[in-house]
């Protein structure tokens, strides 16, 4: 499957500079780039020199609210052109959002595109953060906080302009999203494959391990940490395998009661019905990927581990919820579990 990376970051955080540099590097070849520009007159795509026919600019609307359908159609068109030999045989897609975009609806569109099944896979989100102005941006723009919170990789840009290390900002980013890998770039210079690798993230144990072994499994395993705008990262660990129906109900209740406040969820779950192969779950707000099954456990650790990042999430509630669901499923073990799985009342 072709990985799709979403490149986001607040206005002026260096997304276009980064893409401009990457498009000239051999490591970024065979990449289709889609740029979303907000406004009647797009400029960003003119700032990037390319003659590649797999380069597309989406204008006149913000991806997260107005042109999601356009995005889906564009991706379908890219696939058709690729299959017909009218576009280069790209192996990766990068979608640059506008600076004010909320990445979550874009991810929903990508995750739910029915025509994408088996062809594209959402590989992850890269968020650029201006090393000089990032702190102030986070102070004043909740959009920027959300862009950081949903990221798989954070790229600190403009580090060449720093007079001293941005340790305060990096600590703040780590607190907002302890699961994301933090990279830095000066003059937009960073190796393409460090940012947008070609492996499907859900299948990459090392990437997943980062999510599941960050501080969330250390001190935060005992209590959630509340950060900017009440955004907290929460880790849930279960020694015993979970029943598939229990996990399904957990996701359903989280989606129903947390909704837009659940920014990201990732997990490696030991399913009681299939203990030899862990299930990888991945969600953005109320939308969840179909689980991916790893071929084997990446380590000796076979505990189920879930990491949630969201606004106003409470660890105690999620722990109590999971305990209640697991207990109820055990009590209902047998044919009655099917009734409970519908959530009907």
């Amino acid at each position: 499957m072709i990985p799709i990376w979403v490149l986001t970051g607040f206005l002026g955080s260096g997304k276009t500079t980064l893409l401009g540099r990457l498009l000239k590097s051999p490591g970024f070849s065979r990449t289709a780039v889609i740029i979303n520009e907000f406004g009647e007159i797009g400029l960003d795509h003119d700032l990037i020199e390319t003659s590649d026919e797999s380069f597309v600019a989406l204008q006149t609307g913000c991806l997260c609210c107005a042109v999601r359908d356009d995005l889906v159609l564009t991706l379908e068109d890219l696939l058709r052109r690729r299959a017909a030999g009218m576009a280069p045989p790209f192996e990766r897609v990068v979608i640059e959002t506008s600076g004010l975009a909320d990445p979550a609806p874009i991810l929903h569109a990508l995750m739910l595109g029915p025509s994408f099944v088996g062809q594209f896979v959402v590989a992850g989100v890269v968020t650029t953060v201006d090393a000089v102005n990032g702190w102030r941006t986070l102070d004043h723009h909740p959009e920027a906080i959300k862009q950081v919170a949903v990221a798989d990789r954070l790229l600190l840009t403009k580090t060449d302009l720093l007079e001293m290390p941005a340790s305060g900002l990096t600590a703040r980013l780590a607190a907002l999203n302890p699961a994301a890998r933090l990279l830095s770039a000066s003059f937009g210079d960073v190796e393409a494959n460090r940012l947008f690798d070609l492996a499907c993230e859900a299948k990459a144990p090392a990437e997943l391990a980062r999510w599941l072994t960050v501080r969330a499994l250390g001190e935060a395993a005992q209590h959630g940490h509340v950060h900017d705008a009440e955004i907290a990262s929460i880790a849930i660990v279960r020694e015993r395998p979970m029943h598939a129906v229990g996990l399904t109900l957990l996701l359903e209740v989280l989606a129903e009661h947390c909704g837009g406040d659940l920014l990201r969820l990732k997990g490696l779950v030991n399913i009681a019905e299939c203990p030899q192969r862990p299930a990888v779950i991945h969600g953005v707000q109320h939308v969840f990927h179909p689980p991916a099954w790893l071929d084997r456990w990446p380590s000796q650790d076979r505990r189920s581990r879930l990491v949630l990042i969201g606004r106003n999430l409470r660890q105690a509630w999620i722990e109590a919820l999971l305990t209640a669901l697991e207990t109820e499923v055990s009590e209902l073990d047998g044919g009655a579990t099917k009734l409970a799985a519908t959530g009907e009342d």
């Binding site: 598939a244 105690a316 509630w317 109820e328 009342d345």
Partner: protein, 99 residues
């Protein structure tokens, strides 16, 4: 089967109120059920009688609703005590039991 509400339900509801940003109290009632008092609501939760395909009954004034499990219980309780709650019909497809 005991008619008392099990401890895991008590804990869950006690944790649910602050998670939803609702001020209220969850306490056991004399009949082994639960009382939830929040906002203007006063709910009485009991086990559903044996033989019914439900787990819990949620009484609200003169009205009683039967629910089949924890997800339905949370939905019913929250809808009664949280004016800002807008139930959404989220259904997660059952996880396949094999890869």
């Amino acid at each position: 089967m005991s008619t008392a509400i099990p401890h895991y339900v008590v804990v869950l509801l006690q944790e649910s109120l602050p998670a939803w940003g609702v001020t209220g109290v969850v306490s056991r009632s004399a009949d082994g059920g639960l009382e939830v008092r929040a906002a203007a609501a006063h709910l009485h939760i009991t086990r559903a009688p044996a033989g019914l395909p439900f787990r819990w009954l949620v009484g609200d004034g003169g009205r009683s609703r039967a629910v089949s499990g924890v997800p339905g219980l949370l939905r019913t309780v929250r809808a009664s005590i949280d004016a800002s709650y807008r139930p959404i019909a989220v259904r997660i497809a059952a996880l396949p039991l094999a890869p």
